[in-house]
């Protein structure tokens, strides 16, 4: 299957990229250094470590999507490696989905390493392992997989810089979509209500993947929550990638 061949190549290329190693190295450093900040918060060291470490995984995952993911397609165009690919018997959608899967694999490995370091470090610092920590990391990963699809969509349309900025903007808006709903409720204007509700449902809701508080307070994440968030990420990503493929199909290089 050509999608998987492209995915494998994309993964291999990304995993050897120095940028990935630097981002991953810094994120691991932040997780380990969280103990220093943890000491400042009297009696809450472990919660602080968990809070900062999950925040670091989230932040560095977003940075990965922004700097590697958003440049994924543009880099192929700018470096002209796309010429030797499109001249092969492959569909352009296979290229888009292949690049996406390759990047998701890269994210999976990065998040797995960061998550493992977090769990080991947390236990070494005297914490008790709870399954919700893994659940929260998994959900962050699903959110990053969706963000990665969005970054690829932008990468099909604009330069690496513009795609990176747009990806961050969508992520920030996607973390605040609940405000749109609140704004719609307090405003009486029916047009405003329709517009804000349309934006609420259209924009990706990254809060669906934010289960950090469940990890802090050892609150269990229900099976329904896992299912809903996973299906949401997969379906949303699929349609975003379809749109990206449609745009990419029309382009000349």
């Amino acid at each position: 299957m050509k999608v998987l061949i492209i995915a494998q190549n994309s993964f291999r290329e990304a995993i050897r990229d120095r940028v990935l190693r630097v981002i991953l190295g810094v994120s691991l450093l932040v997780i380990v250094c969280s103990s220093i900040i943890g000491e400042i918060s009297l009696g809450e060291e472990l919660k602080m470590i968990l809070d900062l470490s999950l925040g670091a995984i989230d932040l560095f995952g977003v940075i990965l999507c922004t700097f590697i993911g958003a440049a994924l397609i543009q880099k192929e165009i700018e470096k002209k490696t796309i010429y030797t690919l499109l001249a092969r018997p492959i569909h352009r959608w296979e290229f888009i989905f292949g690049k996406y899967i390759g990047m998701v694999l890269t994210l999976a490995v990065s998040v797995f390493i960061m998550g493992t370091v977090l769990c080991v470090f947390y236990i070494l610092m005297g914490g008790t392992f709870n399954i919700n920590m893994i659940g929260a990391v998994f959900m962050l990963f699903m959110g990053l997989a969706l963000l990665n699809a969005i970054s690829i969509l932008f990468s099909c349309m604009a330069s690496s810089t513009v795609s990176s900025i747009a990806t961050i903007a969508v992520f920030l808006v996607g973390r605040s979509t609940h405000h749109l709903k609140s704004m719609a409720i307090v405003n009486d204007n029916p047009i405003f209500l329709k517009v804000t509700m349309f934006a609420y449902y259209l924009l990706p809701n990254f809060n669906n993947f934010n289960f950090k508080s469940n990890a802090f307070y050892s609150l269990s994440i229900s099976g329904e929550m896992y299912l809903y968030s996973t299906v949401y990420a997969l379906v949303y990503s699929f349609f975003v990638l379809l749109l990206a493929s449609f745009i990419f199909e029309k382009r000349n290089f």
């Binding site: 061949i5 291999r12 290329e13 030797t84 001249a87 290089f253």
Partner: protein
């Protein structure tokens, strides 16, 4: 029988910005026979790369049609028989030469095992056997170009489309590529390549198309285009009497005295033979007789100049 490449009224208009458009190619009609070396010539911006990008599926033509062995270029199946070498080839720098070739081979449907056996053969063939496990970012430009040829050969295609394969190479590198093109023809393959290194094209091509400003200026077999016609002649003689020089001056010649020798420039072969007779019968000594025949470069410049004159005349009317 279907041609290796056939285009009918092929045209391309690019959008430059929101409102602007730029024509890169107009009404291109070519037919490339199988097992032929076909040169696609033109200056920078003539439309060569645009045509090649359309043939290899990188660009979508806005007008006309193009087929590869009878299959329209918008079908991905048409690319199964193409080996493509783009101009200024870039690779995935962090992959090794072997990984890169395996990747391209598998995209053509080769199994990992088949790809690996082809890789050994190809690396040997392009002289990169010893560096197969090195990352491509360590390669020189010449090595990358050779790997570029290798990636085009990985699936043993019937048609090679090469964009400026000779540009930027030193004389040895150019010779290697020329020999490789001739070798492919010997193996029954078709080679379609663009170039502005006309001397190289003349050495190896069966047929050429000259392009300027997106339009075909001239097209055909090399021998038909050049006609082997003498376009100028030069005679070098010594010991010419004043009478002989006077007789020669009456002809359409230019005479230049240089280092005790007389250089006589004429326009036709007939005039050169006539001047030779005059010199010899007048007691002069003929040292050299050089007949200058049209080469591809002369022909190209004349064609393009002619086209410029024509367009200038049309615009002044």
């Amino acid at each position: 029988m279907s041609f290796a490449i056939e285009t009918k009224g092929l045209g391309m208009v690019f959008r430059t910005d929101w409102a602007g458009k730029k024509r890169a190619l107009e009404n291109l009609n070519i037919q490339v026979q199988a097992n032929e070396i076909y040169g696609f010539l033109g200056h920078n911006g003539a439309g060569k790369t645009t045509t090649i990008k359309i043939l290899s599926g990188i660009c979508h033509a806005t007008e006309g049609s193009a087929n590869i062995f009878g299959v329209p270029v918008n079908k991905i199946h048409s690319r199964t028989k193409i080996g493509f070498l783009p101009e200024n080839l870039y690779f995935y720098e962090y992959l090794t030469a072997e990984e890169s070739l395996e990747f391209y081979g598998r995209l053509h449907g080769l199994s990992s095992r088949e790809a690996r056996s082809r890789i050994t053969e190809i690396l040997e063939d392009v002289g990169l056997r010893d560096v197969g496990k090195n990352q491509i970012r360590e390669f020189s430009k010449g090595m990358k170009q050779r790997l570029g040829v290798g990636q085009a050969m990985i699936h043993d295609p019937d048609l090679y489309i090469l964009d400026e394969p000779l540009s930027g190479l030193d004389p040895m590198g150019r010779r290697e590529i020329r020999d490789k093109i001739l070798f492919l023809k010997e193996k029954g393959k078709t080679v379609f390549f663009s170039s502005h290194v006309l001397a190289d094209v003349e050495m190896i091509c069966d047929e050429v198309t000259l392009l300027s400003k997106g339009q075909v200026v001239s097209s055909g077999k090399l021998e038909d285009l050049l006609l082997n016609k003498v376009t100028s002649a030069k005679l070098v003689a010594t010991s010419l009497s004043a009478q002989v020089i006077e007789t020669l001056t009456k002809m359409k010649v230019s005479i230049v005295e240089k280092s005790g020798e007389t250089n006589i420039h004429l326009e036709t072969e007939e005039d050169a033979n006539k001047a030779k007779e005059i010199i010899e019968s007048g007691g002069g000594k003929l040292r050299e007789l050089i007949l200058h025949r049209d080469n591809l470069e002369d022909y190209y410049i004349r064609q393009v100049k002619g086209e410029h004159h024509e367009s200038a005349n049309n615009s002044s009317k």
